[in-house]
Point group: C2
Chain length 160, copies 2
DNA sequence: ATTTGTGCAAATCGTTTGCATCTGA
DNA sequence: TCAGATGCAAACGATTTGCACAAAT
């Protein structure tokens, strides 16, 4: 899994050092570089920094605004526009998936395996539901010419 | 069910005539007046006109923009803001329900019974799925202090 | 060197709000 | 009469885009 950081990029570059200084663990950065390369994205500083934030702490559900604040506080300064662009790029290559629950904001989920969600409306908070704990029964046949590519289940919660 | 139109509102009013002239069938208008009154909303011209459009043709999934165009073409001129307000009022009193599938637009569904949806992404189109044809299995217990008030299932479709 | 990404500000889109005016009970 | 609705325009928040600059291969 983990590999020596030098294996992930060209030697003699100060890219490695620059990257390492931006995140807590140099190993994390190199993991991210590997991950980005595997996804076909060039591992730029911004992408490495953002993916480190996103993927370091297990499953997360973030809005662009949330990630933007997090990044600007602790890491490289990024513009909000770039955060949006990056989140969409990550989504396109399958590193993230987008969850439509709120209408007003877009949530991005670092868990890209099949699963569902609780949505706590008054806290604007998402919680994963493993497909083990909840599965959808029979699904009707889609209209002609179309196929199912995803099934989203949102269990909406309110304070008792 | 249906009742004579004069029974629905004060006699001597030209409200009835005005309403009747705005929709194909005066009976439809009076049905709408009844429906609105039952929901605790005053049957104003705008509300009667919009509800006639919404509820005359069976189950529909509309955006504010769609209803706005429809109304302005065929009926009383309404402002887009009023369409939004009216859709929300209808939702609050349970005549409509709001479906969050697209993130960018809000859809309003005239079917307010429990059911699910196909969502055809490339056409931005919703199709009802009766709960008879699809049901969700066991649902995990919600976190403490919260209760489930709705479960949304969206089956996303793509062209084959 | 060439291609690809980034920052910024301005543009856009859907939606909401404030307020003066109108209308139904 | 008078609370409640409506229209309009302006305000708004989230997201996207255009373009000059910077960085990665």
């Amino acid at each position: 899994m983990k590999q020596s950081s030098s294996s992930a990029f060209r030697s003699g570059s100060d890219f490695e050092e620059a990257m390492a200084s931006r995140v807590r663990s140099p190993d994390l950065a190199s993991d991210m570089i590997t991950k980005l390369r595997a996804a076909g994205l060039r591992p730029t500083r911004t992408r490495v920094a953002l993916s480190s934030l996103l993927f370091a702490k297990g499953d997360r559900h973030v809005t662009a605004e949330m990630l933007f604040e997090e990044a600007n506080q602790a890491e490289v300064s990024v513009s909000l526009a770039t955060v949006y662009n990056t989140l969409h790029q990550f989504t396109e290559v399958g590193l993230l998936c987008q969850v439509a629950v709120d209408g007003s904001r877009a949530y991005f989920d670092t868990n890209n395996t099949k699963h569902h969600h609780f949505y706590i409306e008054d806290r604007h908070e998402l919680i994963d539901i493993s497909p083990t704990n909840m599965n959808v029964g029979k699904v009707p046949v889609p209209p002609d010419g179309y196929e199912i590519f995803r099934i989203d289940v949102v269990v909406r919660l309110r304070r008792k």
